[in-house]
Symmetry: C2
Subunit: 441 residues, 2 copies
């Protein structure tokens, strides 16, 4: 045997023990159910990709966070996936016979070597839903509806999905006199609006050498506020004569017009011409959801990326989608007690006690019958005192205990203890599963 | 934009498209349900471990297959996990306050840079259930019962869980006159019995310098065959006076005695004194399941490993568990059509067609109401011919299509097409979800 080592985790990585996994699985199952109700289907891609698949897609700052992977024999340059969008693009390009539209979801970990801090991990899960092969604004509206449905089902009430369009942003650039490379700087500065305020944005643009009158014109446009339905005609008027802006605004108008019939409350979204989204590859509508209460910031990001798949394929594919970042959602729901009270610290519904060694076989048969009826049953393995066995059930948070003593056994009965209520009932073994189900409700 | 690259996967890795993911999720959900019914709870550990956590646990041949992971900034030596047992041991050692027994399951990928071949992948899933903190043979019997329940629910009928005990193997070694280092060679040779036959084993042992009379005595013992209940007293008689053998045989006797009351058919398991299991760390009962028809070989492996956690902790923990290897199970079930016929190529239950542009809002509202009632609904995004939309539904394997034309709309109705039967019914929109549910059954 090798020397004993002190057990440790890599920095920024964590284990998730069962009591927290139960909460986590609840959130992931809720999201999975919504994805599937909207016709998205599961896709698996490997955690390990060829490095060349990932490089050149996220920008240099992001690339520094990618983990390299090496095998001891073999020459491939490998890396851990950084997100789920680039692998999806690779899959689409490698499967030209895919029936379109291809609506897939993937709920899976990604890895980024970011500086660890509270609530930020180097391995974290993303929940992605994407639609490849449709240019319709119905597809974008559906993505926003998916986000809405997920957040409503999880119990969030005060949040806003901000909606913008990269074509409108390009139009604002043209209107202001900023194009090409400088447009990127413009985006990056506007993106910081939440953090540095409008004065901060002005200063950044001034430092980047953009002329004062250009800044003034632009800031004026970005500060348009109002109901989503009013904002679009107002911006159309201001950006009249700029085709790309007209196109983007028409897309936004169509998109918004679908949301009501899809069941999305108007209070859940807001056109926001100052919202940019960091990544380079967006080409049309973009969306980002900010939860205002509790204040957890941005928890979804996405948009239309009609050019990304072209990096892997001669054929172009329109595509749109979103990522839902569940780590913050789970942390906040846990802190604020937003989980249903039916979720306990354990999944186990009944602890079957060992009472009398001579009744062990009958006890095992009884546990077996409860499982056959679908209950989650733990058998206590050691022949210890009833008190000790019940204390274990309490410490673990198991709601029921079943005790099969000689008196009960003689009559085909069993005693069921409800540990929440501190009550017990002696019932027929054949009725025990039903009693446990109904007494718990 | 960087240059376009040809999209490729790393060697031995694969994508899994939705039609196959549906089958895969069915198998994983079946296993998860069984694990939970037996009181196992979910644990997550990171894919990336410190290299020192993995090294020295699996033997040198296995270690060569471990993938190294490097971050661009930072000094940690990292690696992708090779199995789920060593991470579990680390978790137990790092959480001394864990309530025992700790029964956890984990269904997750592991990575091994093995030579790719048909049905063998470099990223594959393991389904592990382990019980830490109980030395009772009830725990081992429960693990065997879990395997039995999983295979029965998946529809396997001809398989055998072979059961042996490392203590009996040590006793056979003592009886034959082999101890210490040579015992390892003995195990490795016996482990090949299935592949090289008894004559092959004899030859290997002879080549390893083990004396002819020792080999003869041992081979004689290994060839004992018969009903599990008869084998144990027979072996007890032959190995009389060797305490470790007596201990191991008593464990096997207890273990077997529990299986019947736990609902395991006697035809599903077999004591096999020649079964070894490769890994070094087993200390007591060991088990391995071989599916005989279809002939897919070993699909589960496990046993008691009372010393593994000591590699991370001064405190000792008895532990036992199994891995169920699902990749071969899934491949074989797919090849032989063992999946329930209710599983289709798609999860989508209804395609809602676009028929009349003026009815789009009503169509969206209808799709929304079907989803609210729990159906999995795809909306066709483009306003194309009904024929083309129906062809899409057929190609995708969607069982129902819903068409909302002006006549139907005027009466609050909708036409539902059953694409399997080639029939259609016009029903009230409010009844459509129920019609689809029942017509499909």
């Amino acid at each position: 045997m090798p020397e004993r080592i002190t057990p440790r985790l890599p920095r920024g990585m964590r284990d998730i023990l069962p009591d927290k996994m139960i909460l986590r699985d609840y959130v992931m199952n809720t999201i999975r159910t919504v994805f599937e109700q909207f016709g998205f289907e599961p896709l698996h891609t490997p955690a390990v990709e060829l490095a060349e698949t990932l490089m050149g897609k996220y920008g240099p700052d992001a690339e520094r966070l990618i983990y390299d992977v090496r095998q001891r024999q073999g020459h491939e340059e490998l890396a851990l996936r950084y997100d789920l969008s680039v692998p999806l693009s690779r899959v689409v390009a490698m499967n030209p016979d895919l029936l379109l539209p291809f609506k897939r979801y993937q709920i899976a970990p990604v890895w980024r070597a970011e500086r660890p801090q509270k609530g930020r991990y180097r391995e974290f899960y993303q929940c992605d839903a994407d639609i490849v092969g449709s240019a319709s604004m119905l597809a974008d509206a559906e993505i926003i509806t998916v986000i809405y449905t997920v957040l409503e089902r999880l119990g969030f009430r005060r949040y806003t999905t901000r909606i913008n369009n990269r074509k409108v942003l390009a139009g604002i650039g043209i209107y202001s006199g900023v194009e090409g490379e400088a447009l990127g700087q413009l985006y990056r500065s506007i993106d910081k609006l939440d953090r540095i305020g409008m004065d901060g944005v002005r200063k950044e643009l001034r430092d980047a050498g953009i002329a004062e009158d250009v800044i003034a014109r632009m800031v004026d446009l970005l500060q348009i506020r109002g109901a989503s339905a009013d904002l679009i005609p107002e911006m159309m008027r201001r950006l009249e004569g700029i085709p790309i802006a007209a196109e983007g605004l028409a897309e936004l108008r169509d998109l918004i017009s679908y949301l009501d019939a899809m069941g999305v409350s108007p209070s859940a979204y807001q056109i926001d011409f100052s919202m940019v989204r960091g990544l380079d590859y967006y080409t049309g509508p973009i969306y980002e959801t900010v939860v205002e209460e509790p204040k957890i910031g941005s928890i979804t990001g996405g948009g239309r990326y009609d050019r990304l798949i072209e990096m892997f394929s001669e054929r172009g594919y329109p595509a749109t989608g979103t990522t839902i970042g569940i780590e913050r959602i789970i942390d906040v729901m846990d802190e604020l007690g937003m989980f249903p009270s039916s979720l306990r610290r354990t999944l186990v519904e009944v602890l079957v006690l060992q009472f009398d060694p001579s009744l062990l076989a009958e006890t095992l048969r009884f546990a077996h019958s409860l499982r056959e009826q679908g209950l989650r049953v733990e058998l206590y393995f050691e022949a210890e005192s009833v008190k000790k066995q019940l204390r274990y059930a309490s410490r673990k948070g198991i709601p029921f205990a079943a005790i099969l003593g000689p008196d009960e056994a003689a009559q085909g009965q069993v005693t069921i203890k409800n540990l929440d209520l501190g009550e017990q009932r002696t019932v027929l073994q054949s009725e025990a599963a039903q009693v446990i189900r109904e007494w718990g409700a």
